[in-house]
Assembly symmetry: C2
DNA sequence: AAGTGGTCTAGACCACTAT
DNA sequence: TAGTGGTCTAGACCACTTT
């Protein structure tokens, strides 16, 4: 019943299997992706029009649209109303480095332990006050932690938290804190958004000592600010680590390994 | 004609304007995003079912689906078949750092100039041969360039290119090369995919001298391999720069500034 | 005018989850 | 069994581009 017209039983892999359970629009996207990969359409070239694809694959226009949308989201094709759909060329600017490796480390509860180095109330200095949008001298919680992966120092974390006297600090919270969910995958319901910035830095003496690395050493500095639902900053801080702890890699262009759309993390 | 039933002229901003030209599914996504932002739904809470939304906003199920899909793509909600749609909590692992700033620099032809430091045929060493998947000792093109932004050294680029004797090297190509399109936005039709890796490094004496920076200095190392449509590596190399040349920042969670879907780069 | 992508409808049918 | 999200149809209508 899935044979193409003509009655031949020749196996065609560029054909939709309606029994497979995989959505048609994904099957179609994979078919087109394979065709591009095989060189049937080169960057800059035009794909068949949606009307043509509707005829070729015997699906509804809406389904073709979903297919094209999917490919467009994945930066494989671009669409131009009135002109057509075209294969995109690889551009380095579309590269994205994700922190999922970072999260993996933090959610591995067996391997990762948190060592509290310091936690105290401090009077905020100018910079901290500016970041947390409070007045200089107002008290804030200052926490320093060392995160060990398989008992090896991996991340040094400094953090300034808004101090709310109505919510007394529970000792045990300091090692894990509000932010735990941000890494473990649960997420904090109190945080609305965050801003992150990454830089390469030279380690200070103290940082090198804490991370047990000889000087001079270079590493990554990952700054974060988190905001609550009133758009007020609640946490400002940074992670410092050796580059090999946070290897950032990505790929651009066609990658047939991401056959499925279910690669959300 | 756009008044809600009851004849009242009270202005409601959480209402769909069918004359606005903006697609309904985007308007609806913005409305829901604003409601989440305003605290109407908190992370972990369930959104109204799609059937409810169909009734509330008088649109078809398909349109609601597109809205929910859009919010899911933007990591704002998550869907679970049979259970419902839920507001997502902020998770640091969803952060993505983009190289669009990198591309901006390279496509600004007025500000950016390329200075060729060295270009010659070399016999490949073990590492280069491995990366380019060729035999050790086979000739390759080795190019070193300095990219200046407003006449200041910004990026130091080393690159190994497959040498194809059938295509003689044109002198003038060396300063711009095949890869130009990768940055300028045109893209190369010969490249199918690329792999990128980023690290923090200590500058060598040579690198510091070229980038006119005192030692010791830390910077970013961006390695790239590009593949052609035969999945053969054609270029392996790396960019080295000071961290401030490639500031990497991003935000996670709700961000009302990305109202439109048209923020592709 | 003909062809292109883009949105939207008003359902049908299915798979999954809870009760 | 009732409610949920997920896919798909077979069109209609629109905006835009090219000829």
């Amino acid at each position: 019943m899935n044979e193409s017209k003509g009655g031949s039983v020749t196996y065609e892999y560029n054909v939709i299997d309606r029994e497979s359970g995989q959505p048609i629009y994904i099957q179609l996207a994979n078919i087109i992706r394979k065709q591009i990969n095989a060189g049937k359409y080169h960057p800059g070239e035009q794909l068949p029009s949606e009307a043509m694809l509707v005829q070729s694959y015997h699906v509804s226009p809406m389904t073709i649209r979903r297919t094209i949308n999917l490919l467009a989201e994945q930066n494989i094709v671009s669409t131009a109303q009135g002109r057509g759909t075209f294969v995109k060329a690889v551009r380095i600017g579309t590269a994205a480095f994700y922190l999922n490796r970072f999260q993996e480390i933090f959610s591995d509860e067996k391997a990762t332990t948190v060592k509290l180095i310091e936690a105290r109330l401090v009077k905020t200095d100018e910079r901290t006050a500016r970041k947390l949008k409070i007045t200089v001298g107002v008290r804030a919680i200052y926490i320093r932690r060392l995160l060990l992966v398989y008992n090896q120092p991996a991340f040094y974390h400094c953090e300034h938290l808004i101090y709310d006297p109505r919510r007394p600090i529970v000792e045990s919270e300091l090692e894990v804190t509000i932010l735990k969910g941000l890494f473990s995958g649960i997420g904090s319901p109190l945080i609305k958004k965050g801003e992150l910035q990454m830089e390469a830095i030279l380690f200070t003496k103290e940082e090198a000592a804490i991370l047990k690395t000889p000087l001079p050493a270079a590493g990554l500095f990952l700054e974060h600010i988190f905001f609550d639902f009133d758009d007020k900053p609640v946490s400002w801080g940074w992670f410092i680590c050796l580059s090999n702890q946070l290897r950032l890699h990505t790929s651009i262009g066609l990658d047939l390994s991401k056959d499925s759309i279910y690669d959300n993390f």
